[in-house]
Assembly symmetry: C2
Homo-oligomer: 183 residues x 2
C-alpha cells in the first residue's frame, strides 16, 4: 500500500538497446529500494508464451499476456520494466489502457535506432539471417514496426550512451514523482 507501481514499456527494433537499458535501469531502481520486475522475451518465451511464434496474431497474443501480467504487477506497486519489440501501436495502447484502468501510470519509452544501425550491431546475428530470408517475419526487415507517435520518453541509442539514456528516464520518473528523488 506504499510505492506507486508503474509500467515502463520499452519498444523498439531488435538490437535497439531495450533490454540493455532495462537491465541497467533495474539496478538503479533496486538501489533505491523499489520493488522492480523486469520482463522481456527471453524471460517470458521460456515459460508462459512458449507456445507462440512470430505471426501477427501470435505477437498480439504475446503482448496481450504480457499486458495481463504487467498490469497486475503495477497495480500492486511494482516498478515493472517491460522490453519487447511490441511493433504495433494498437497493442501498446491496450497495454496503456489496462494499466491506467488500475491507476498505474504507463510510460512508453521509444528506444530509437535505425534498422541500418541495429543490423550493424546485429547482437544476436538475427539481421543477417533476416536479410538472407532464413528468418521470416522479422521486424524492420520483413515485418512492420509502428513507431510510437507520442512516446513519453525517447532514447536515441545511436547518439547516446546507456548511462545517458538512464539519466533521461530517471529524471522523468523523478519529475512524475514515481520514484523518490536521489538524495
Amino acid at each position: 500500500m506504499n510505492d506507486p507501481g508503474f509500467v515502463l514499456w520499452f519498444t523498439g527494433l531488435s538490437g535497439s538497446g531495450k533490454t540493455t537499458i532495462a537491465v541497467e535501469l533495474e539496478k538503479v531502481l533496486l538501489e533505491r529500494d523499489l520493488r522492480v520486475q523486469r520482463l522481456d522475451g527471453d524471460i517470458v518465451r521460456k515459460t508462459f508464451t512458449r507456445d507462440l511464434g512470430f505471426s501477427v496474431d501470435d505477437r498480439n497474443l504475446n503482448i496481450e499476456r504480457i499486458t495481463f501480467v504487467t498490469t497486475l504487477l503495477a497495480k500492486h506497486g511494482v516498478a515493472t520494466l517491460v522490453s519487447f519489440i511490441s511493433p504495433f501501436i494498437a497493442a501498446r495502447e491496450t497495454a496503456r489502457k489496462e494499466a491506467n484502468g488500475e491507476n498505474a501510470p504507463f510510460i512508453e519509452v521509444f528506444v530509437n535506432a535505425s534498422v541500418e544501425e541495429c543490423a550493424r550491431r546485429d547482437v544476436k546475428g538475427l539481421y543477417e539471417k533476416a536479410f538472407a530470408g532464413i528468418i521470416k517475419d522479422f521486424t524492420g526487415v520483413s515485418h512492420p514496426y509502428e513507431a510510437p507517435p507520442n512516446p513519453q520518453i525517447i532514447c536515441n541509442t545511436e547518439d547516446e550512451t546507456v548511462e545517458e539514456s538512464i539519466k533521461i528516464i530517471i529524471a522523468y520518473l523523478e519529475k512524475e514523482k514515481l520514484i523518490p528523488n536521489s538524495s
Copy 2:
C-alpha cells in the same frame, strides 16, 4: 519490501466452494490492509489463457501460466489467492517449487466435497451436462482429479460453513506469521 507475499492455492472439484471461499477471504485480507490479488478461471480464461481448452495438455499449460503470474505476485509481497480445479498433483507441485524458489510460501488448500455433493449443488449446471456427456473431460466425472496427499489446509465444505473455512485459513496464516494477528 514489507509484506511477505504468499500463494494460497485452492484446489478442488468444480462446485466445491473454492472461489466462494477465496472471494470472502479476499475481503478479510483487504480489511487488514494487505495487498491481495485473486485469480480464478473466470478472471484468467477471459484474457491470457483464452486460447486453452480442457485437455490434459491445455489444463497443464493453463496452470503453468497461472504459476508464472502467482510466483511474480507473491515474490513482490502480494497475498495471492488462486482458485482453480488444478486436478494434477504434478502441476501443483511445480507451482509450489516456483513460489518457494522466490522465497514465497505456498499453501495448498484442499477444498473438499464429494462429486455427489458438488453435483447436487451444480451451481453452474455443469454436472448435469457432464453426466449427459454434453461436456466432455469434466473433472470428477469424465476426467481425473488427484486430491492433494498433504495439503496445508483442508476445507470440508460439506460440513463447514464458509465462515468456518475462513477462520481455519486465517488461523493458519496468523500462526505462520504471514498476516498480522487481528487486534
